[in-house]
Symmetry: C2
């Protein structure tokens, strides 16, 4: 054994993730990453191999830290539409209450979809995986809210797409017009209420 690493990989990855989230992969330079993480390139390359390696770690952290906790409420064992309303409600609150200068606007993976994913197969796979996971969670919550039998598969899938669409486009628009992003999320909530009139919230 030799000298021990003085920094925690987790906090470094989170700092890098916020930078990538804010500026995108290409626009985030190594100088920026040094400043954001407080580490020299030496340590960054030693720990993560490359800029891309750090980015991949950031994306993984984003999925685990940001996405999955959000989707978890959709998997809660509710028997009405409250899980869906919780999901869109908390997303709207988070969008509304974040500091005006917060760098965590929109969604890292949505940004990847418009940027990297078009020409980078691994990134495309990650983004597609996120889309599938989001759809599955919404589908689960929609099934839980409905009285099982009286909704055909086709209409279920339409509803999944509508909600996934509102969710993603809200994250997209959040970078341009926060008020409208919140309105999109509220539209999703209203749509859920229209589908399930007897829901608790």
């Amino acid at each position: 054994m030799g000298r021990l690493q003085t920094f925690d990989n987790g906090v470094v990855v989170q700092a890098a993730r916020d930078l990538f989230w804010d500026k995108g992969y290409e626009a985030a330079s190594l100088a920026d990453l040094e400043a954001a993480t407080g580490l020299g390139r030496s340590s960054l390359y030693h720990a993560f191999g490359s800029k891309r390696g750090l980015f991949d770690a950031a994306v993984t952290d984003y999925l685990e830290t940001v996405i999955r906790p959000r989707l978890a409420v959709l998997r809660a064992g509710t028997t009405d539409a409250s899980a869906l309303l919780d999901y869109f409600g908390s997303l709207a609150v988070a969008t509304a209450t974040q500091a005006p200068d917060s760098v965590q606007t929109g969604c890292l993976l949505v940004n990847c979809a418009a940027g990297l994913a078009a020409h980078d197969d691994p990134t495309r796979a990650v983004v597609e995986g996120y889309r599938i996971e989001l759809s599955a969670a919404l589908r689960h919550a929609l099934l839980a809210a409905s009285d099982a039998e009286h909704s055909a598969d086709a209409v279920l899938e339409e509803r999944v797409r509508t909600l996934a669409s509102l969710s993603m486009s809200a994250m997209l628009i959040a970078r341009v017009n926060r008020t409208e992003a919140i309105a999109l999320l509220n539209t999703a909530s209203n749509q859920v209420r229209a589908w399930f009139p007897g829901s608790s919230r």
Copy 2:
């Protein structure tokens, strides 16, 4: 007067637009732009001043050449939902039939929303203008399709947001999963049919 310009600004801008559309602003290098347009940097800088000047011309061309013709069908004087069905139908067809290696996937402005727009005010203004224009066109078509009185303003705006959302997220997802992008557009069409059962298509 001296020597005359041998190239047509319009075709050069279109070539540049397709490159920006495909790779994004930052990833499109001047070497790429030279190759795509067939011009040297000399001519490009003489005609457009800077890379950004060429990009702005490309965005303007994109709005006039791609966006506005698409939105035009929403402004046609129909009295049912056919304009909306035409819009989403033609978008779905265009997405479905384009060559697999086509560089014109998704939407240049949607890509800008996720990338440049977060840190560049002029770009953000352009993207926001696009969103407003799209919403206005959808609102116009929705009003034309409804029997005027029996739809409240609130539900109209919800419908505008739902359709705008499906439109934008389809363009976003087109870069990752073309099949799903088409499905989103078909979901929009089905939603329109559900709202206006007596529509012609």
